[in-house]
């Protein structure tokens, strides 16, 4: 937690902070808008006694997040060991295409075949088959296109690589948007 300070000081001690107003407080001309009363609207968070941290508040601000963190960590620590078979069956059904339907998964389709295949998945899980074994079984019967989750190898790499590549290019483009010279303090935008 930062030490207690008020915002007026923050402004002076933080060079480079040139505009701390809300979007609202700046008119199209770049000048601060005036309220109906003609008074200049107060700057956001400036001279603000409400946000400043009172001594009694420090305890709250420290204790509350600490307790929350402990609760979260302790509560989630024993991670789910074995997934419930019905949830597993559904996850598998979602990842397998219904062979006779137009773009529907086995989980979504209401056809009799999909119904049978859902039962097959449940039976295989009851027999102790792994997810991978069940998928292999489906590929053997219906071909590769039964998999709605493209395998990470081979052609499937393109599916991941191209968006990643574009993300890198995009990040590069954004960094090129940055101003070369330091910002002028007042700019009549």
């Amino acid at each position: 937690m930062p030490e207690r300070r008020n915002e007026g000081e923050a402004d002076q001690t933080t060079p480079g902070v040139t505009d701390q107003r809300t979007p609202l407080s700046r008119g199209p001309s770049g000048l601060p808008r005036r309220g109906k009363s003609g008074k200049r609207r107060l700057n956001f968070f400036r001279d603000d006694r409400h946000l400043s941290v009172r001594p009694a508040g420090v305890a709250v601000w420290l204790v509350v997040p600490a307790v929350a963190l402990v609760v979260i960590v302790v509560g989630l620590w024993p991670s789910q060991s074995t997934a419930d078979p019905q949830a597993r069956a559904h996850a598998l059904a979602v990842s397998l295409k219904c062979p006779i339907c137009a773009g529907e998964s086995i989980a979504a389709s209401q056809t009799d075949l999909a119904e049978d295949l859902r039962r097959l998945i449940a039976a295989e899980i009851a027999d102790g088959s792994s997810d991978e074994e069940i998928r292999t079984l489906f590929v053997a019967s219906y071909g590769e296109q039964v998999l709605l989750d493209p395998p990470a190898g081979g052609w499937g790499i393109a599916l991941w690589a191209l968006p990643l590549l574009l993300g890198v290019i995009g990040a590069g483009a954004i960094s090129r948007l940055r101003r070369k010279e330091p910002a002028a303090v007042e700019e009549g935008a």
Binding site: V64, I72, E104, L159, G170
Partner: protein, 679 residues
């Protein structure tokens, strides 16, 4: 008779559209730039468009089965609301709906064009050009008034698209596709989406006109801001209603399956969302000028792409309800839009580039840029994933599929980063935000996030992703609410009463607060997406009458069966009571049904849902086995939050419409005392 009148109306609109292109361009270049010079073409376009729509509806409502479309998509016993909705339920009708909406939007834009407004006239010419395509399609390959000339097995076919010749009049029509006539939402969802699609034509038209006239700058953005937001609101509502329809009708409790057609609706929404955000950056900081042109062109192209996917059946999908020669026409139009717009953009590239003027990534514009990056990258990934099977098959001949697991895995990290950007973006000042400022403004939200995550854990949630999303949503909502209370408190310190301070804080910047309301909606939707997917319980039980079963804290009892005849369908249903876990206090009685449509040989299971404070109990008939029934019982925690959060997003968009933007008209009007009585 109606067929000929309807066809004439289409031709009138088409003539109006063609004339509008030429007169629009001419008067936009002329000295006077007089909007009354395009009055006749605009009136012909909107008059013809509306008349075509009305004639089609009249033909359907009066059961004129000499028209192939009417015989194919409606029947004597079709309930009135679905009869009306038949007007856009299939291909030709949906083209008519598109056309009539576009003509009305053109008319509304024309009413807002003033003398001397060359940009507006240019935009009207572009809208005319788009109208030429749609009404041209209606006059040829997708004529809704083509006559039924051949009747085989009750199915009509038209030998020619001209409404002349000897029609075979069937005694009764085939009726709408059972899936489409199964729920009232189907009458509302497509028109909503279409208003969204068509509305996005307006900013596109202004962008193209601005490029063609070498008039970059932010005028076109200021003038189309409301159009974009209205279109976005309708698109959002349309997608939401589509999800709701799917949940209520399709019987597996899903609202989103990453089906190609669903993706096709999502893509323009993602691009439009990015556009609305980046437009703000240009309006405030004069950055991203070229990028905004690219985004609106992409958005419009994606609406056409979406229609193409839906209507061509090129990508197999449950939604591709119709296929025809319209596919190639749409593809050609898509190519014209993409290459034409980008060609124009390339010609003007020198004039539209804006200087690099980003001071820091840690600033409002920095977070808006992050939003743009996420939205466009996600849109690209969805587009790539959707078309990937086509591409692989085209190049290698292999048949592959890309579906829900892939998209889910991509969407989750995108969504989480987006929530972070939303929270920090709300409090980041323009230009530069120091770490100190960001910490002070967001620490309340961070604590709120931690506390909400802890509460979720205490309530028994053990799924890591759900706790994470709850924490992020708590952060977003906490930050925004804190910001609001803070500003309101300051206004009160300025001497106002609490209610006046709260109202003025809000009213002074409707654009900003509307956006923040939408962001709160996004956070709520994120929570609902997480809980309904990760915490759902699915179970199948077989029950004889009087038997009960307990599923995840609810007890269901099979009470009795019933049967009834409804128009066009046979209904077989059962009554199921839902109790608490101890099977003592009754919560609701549900009636899941099987709807049999004999004419189509189709049986559609129709689920029934009870919505409690926390859970939805979703009951569907999986099969009838003698006296007993196989029921799938699904429990979806916080399902209602998805619809509620979605409504909050829509409400936020509506609030943002109140944002005040100088559109140039006020300037023009005060400068020249313009009489706008032409409107």
């Amino acid at each position: 008779m109606i067929a000929i009148l309807g066809y004439i109306a289409i031709l009138v609109a088409l003539t109006g559209a063609v004339t509008l292109v030429f007169t629009g361009i001419r008067s936009s270049k002329s000295q006077a730039q007089d909007p009354s010079s395009v009055r006749v073409p605009v009136f012909a376009l909107v008059g013809g468009g509306v008349a075509a729509f009305v004639f089609l509806e009249v033909a359907i409502l009066t059961h004129d089965f000499s028209i192939a479309y009417v015989a194919q998509n409606s029947a004597l016993k079709t309930p009135l609301v679905f009869l009306f909705a038949s007007g856009w339920a299939a291909l030709e009708g949906s083209v008519v709906l598109w056309g009539v909406l576009l003509s009305i939007f053109t008319w509304l834009v024309w009413r807002r064009v003033w003398p001397g407004d060359g940009l507006g006239l240019g935009a009207l010419a572009v809208m005319g050009a788009v109208s030429v395509f749609w009404f041209g399609l209606m006059a040829t390959a997708a004529n809704p008034f083509a006559l039924c000339t051949e009747l085989a097995d009750g199915f009509c076919s038209a030998s020619s698209w001209l409404p002349v010749g000897d029609a075979v009049v069937a005694a009764d029509g085939v009726g709408p596709n059972p899936l489409l006539a199964n729920h009232i939402l189907m009458a509302v969802h497509p028109p909503m989406l279409y208003v969204g699609y068509v509305g996005l034509t307006v900013p596109f038209a202004f962008a193209i006109a601005a490029l063609a006239r070498s008039e970059p700058g932010k005028v076109w953005l200021d003038r189309t801001h409301r159009w974009s937001v209205i279109a976005w609101v309708f698109l959002t509502a349309g997608i939401l209603l589509g999800g709701w329809w799917s949940y209520e009708v399709l019987g597996w409790g899903g609202y989103w399956a990453w089906d190609p057609v669903e993706n096709a609706a999502l893509l323009p929404w993602l691009a439009a969302t990015a556009f609305i955000h980046s437009a703000i950056v240009q309006q405030r900081r004069s950055m991203l000028q070229a990028w905004n042109f690219v985004l609106i062109i992409a958005t419009f192209a994606l609406t056409i792409f979406g229609t193409f996917v839906t209507r061509s059946g090129v990508i197999a999908s449950v939604h591709a309800f119709s296929q025809s020669a319209v596919g190639p026409a749409l593809l050609a139009f898509l190519a014209v839009v993409i290459f034409g717009s980008l060609g124009l953009f390339a010609m003007r590239a020198g004039t539209v580039a804006s200087a690099p003027r980003l001071d820091s990534l840690s600033s409002r514009e920095g977070f808006l840029l992050l939003n743009n990056m996420l939205m466009t990258l996600f849109a690209f990934t969805v587009l790539f994933g959707t078309t990937f099977p086509l591409l692989v098959e085209a190049f290698t001949g292999r048949e592959v599929s890309v579906g829900q697991p892939f998209f889910d895995r991509v969407a989750v990290p995108f969504g989480m980063i987006l929530l972070l950007a939303i929270g920090f973006g709300a409090v980041a000042p323009w230009r530069v935000a120091s770490a100190q400022i960001m910490w002070e403004r967001s620490r309340f939200g961070m604590n709120a996030g931690l506390v909400s995550a802890a509460v979720a854990v205490l309530l028994g949630v053990r799924s890591v992703p759900v706790v994470l999303v709850v924490g992020l949503a708590g952060f977003v909502i906490g930050t925004i609410v804190h910001l609001y209370l803070h500003q309101a408190r300051r206004a009160r310190d300025g001497g106002k009463s609490w209610p006046a301070a709260a109202a003025s804080t809000f009213g002074n910047d409707l654009g900003f607060w509307g956006g923040q309301i939408a962001h709160i909606g996004v956070a709520l939707v994120a929570v609902a997406l997480a809980t309904t997917s990760a915490l759902a319980v699915r179970s199948e039980v077989t029950l004889a009458p009087g038997e009960t079963a307990v599923v995840a804290g609810y007890c269901v009892e099979y009470r009795s069966a019933f049967e009834r005849n409804e128009p066009e369908r046979l209904v077989q249903g059962i009554r199921v009571a839902v109790y608490d876990a101890s099977c003592t206090s009754e919560r609701a009685q549900l009636e899941p049904r099987l709807h049999e449509y004999p004419k189509f040989g189709q049986v559609i299971a129709t689920p029934d849902v009870w919505t409690g404070l926390v859970d939805d109990v979703y009951v569907n008939i999986a099969g009838l086995e003698g006296a007993s029934v196989r029921l799938s019982v699904l429990i979806f925690p916080l399902q209602w939050l998805l619809w509620f959060g979605g409504s909050v997003i829509v409400a936020g968009g509506l609030v943002a419409l109140g944002r005040k933007v100088r559109t140039g008209r006020t300037v023009a009007a005060s400068n020249s005392q313009v009489d706008d009585s032409h409107a």
